[in-house]
Subunit: 355 residues, 2 copies
């Protein structure tokens, strides 16, 4: 994971108005002086950039060349802080990754906060600091935002929506419907780290080695994959909610193809594997926040795998299966004991509020 | 207010999967089959367009010419349904209006739902229907979205974030910092309707004539204003949270100018005026959701006022004051009894969760 620059918290401009209110009050969402204080003393110093400083109702940006990619995600993860990151890191990286998976260069983010009355402003400041650090690491700007406050008992501290805008270079053509039989399925590293990290905090579990969320921005890795694979890259996807399993099912449906998964090749950290056994989870359906799956034409697969492994976020990359014309919309796993089994889609999610 | 096309609810594709679950369950936010059902049977039929149907993590859009405008807002209004509209209408019109006020032609919206476990899917369907109708009326497409579910007691039925993308024509230059002394301040119609409509429902008040929210998309009116005023239009703003008062204060701060308000010229419906007296509210600081303020060079002001009044959303437009170099960042009202008073900025909002 790339070194995320730490911001100097002590340098923040946080004078009396915010100190007068150690916790969020309804007025912070009212559009008056308290709202302005939050913007001026918290959001602006953290996210500082020319566009944001105009403080218009809309951010005005230079013309973008190429097709536009637009994405949104809301983050309701519990707990807000977990080993390896926070809701702030997730909120930035999640939308950066959705853009990157569409082949776009992520450029701008918007952010909308729903804060619960009574939420500690110090915690909000930590979250905002994490957002700023992740945005800086990913090379994107947070250009506009909005804050609403709801009464105590109608939220859970902090929910964050981000929406993102990126540009897709003319020569890039990727998408679920372009996936075709014989494509090789590559995963960029160990799976289920994020979900297990969250779950271990919730359940109060301690393992010999700490399990950290893999939360990271994938735009650099995606660019390396596109560079190495060219037109051989048919689709990219970050397997978040529902994990690798849900992603494979979704793409199989979109492209009307079947998929074969070599279960023994799925990279899973031993500690994560042990935790999944303990918690009764199938790592195939546990969320990731810093992994990508690429569907690659067979002739390009080796070069792409090499490129993935060269990138700091892809060191544990693996080829985990391939696409078939048979059994469309169905995922078949070759198991550890040499048999085949149909892997059904999950109805819901094993772990609620994972992102 | 323009006639909003009604969708035929009975034509919706809502077969067993959703009927099995009359209320939202955690799994609807899990990214699995229940999530897909919600997308397939509720969101897609309502918002149907080519981009959305690709169901990628990001929406891929044609190149946009001109500068980009990007905006976001989260909506937490209570109640979800009120005289004159719903959170669905607000969520679309609010972001459309933010884009329009920056001089942009609104084009695309994203939407992020935070649903509370137990929320009735029939209510969600009404909200989604309202969003679709407002998007159609405003001429924008909802191109991508996200749904999260939080446990009962951690939400309030439904929160909606929308983010929007629009294009600003090259010749349009508007913004708070362009406002200068002698600019005329125009408002497009009666103020405080939205806030009083919400408040009358919350307080269980009944008036002789029903007070309706003014919730509407302002992009048509803004285009007419720009057409009539050309370079004489210096800034536009929709006075939502905090009302006309907060907007004037914000712009006075951004442009470092003073403002004079002719209190007697503020258009206020008699029923709204009576309700404000009863509730102890100052209509100057009560939210609007379908009104705009324009700061216009004096030589263009008459033509712009005429153009506003010709538009169905601007029939009650008024000139309400002007910009001065004196008393920068200060709002002075000429009162009904002929005196001047300084109008201070509000600390919070008179009415929480108004949008």
């Amino acid at each position: 994971m790339p070194e995320i620059a730490k911001l100097d918290f002590s340098a923040w401009s946080c004078p009396l108005p915010l100190q007068d209110y150690p916790n969020i009050v309804m007025g912070h969402g009212g559009g008056g002086k308290l709202s302005s204080d939050l913007v001026e003393h918290l959001f602006l110093p953290a996210f500082r950039n020319e566009v944001l400083e105009n403080l218009g109702d809309a951010a005005v940006l230079s013309p973008v060349s190429g097709r536009l990619a637009v994405s949104t995600d809301t983050f309701v993860v519990q707990p807000l802080f977990f080993p390896g990151g926070s809701i702030g890191n997730l909120a930035v990286n999640g939308t950066v990754n959705d853009l990157a998976m569409s082949g776009a260069r992520p450029m701008y983010l918007t952010t909308g906060f729903v804060l619960e009355e009574g939420f500690a402003i110090a915690e909000l400041a930590r979250i905002v600091q994490d957002m700023a650090a992740s945005a800086q690491a990913a090379g994107v700007q947070i250009v506009t935002g909005d804050t609403k406050v709801v009464e105590h008992g109608h939220g859970d501290g902090c929910y964050i929506n981000t929406a993102g805008v990126g540009a897709i270079p003319d020569h890039v053509q990727v998408g679920p419907s372009l996936v075709r039989p014989d494509d090789v399925i590559l995963v960029s590293g160990t799976i289920a780290d994020h979900g297990v990290a969250i779950m271990s905090v919730r359940e109060g579990l301690e393992f010999e080695s700490a399990i950290l969320s893999d939360c990271a921005a994938l735009n650099g890795l995606a660019a390396a994959v596109l560079e190495a694979g060219g037109n051989g890259i048919h689709a990219m996807r970050d397997p978040t909610r529902g994990g690798v399993g849900a992603t494979l099912h979704e793409i199989a449906g979109a492209a009307n193809v079947g998929m074969v998964l070599e279960e023994t090749r799925l990279p899973v950290r031993p500690a994560v594997h042990a935790a999944c056994e303990l918690l009764g989870l199938d790592p195939l359906f546990v969320a990731n926040e810093g992994k990508m799956i690429a569907f690659v034409a067979p002739e390009a697969a080796d070069a792409v795998l090499v490129a993935m492994r060269k990138h700091p976020l892809g060191a544990d990359a693996q080829s985990i299966g391939w696409v078939v014309a048979q059994h469309p919309r169905m995922l078949v796993a070759q198991t550890r004991i040499g048999t085949n089994r149909v892997v059904p889609a999950q109805i819901g999610e094993q772990l609620p509020r994972i992102c």
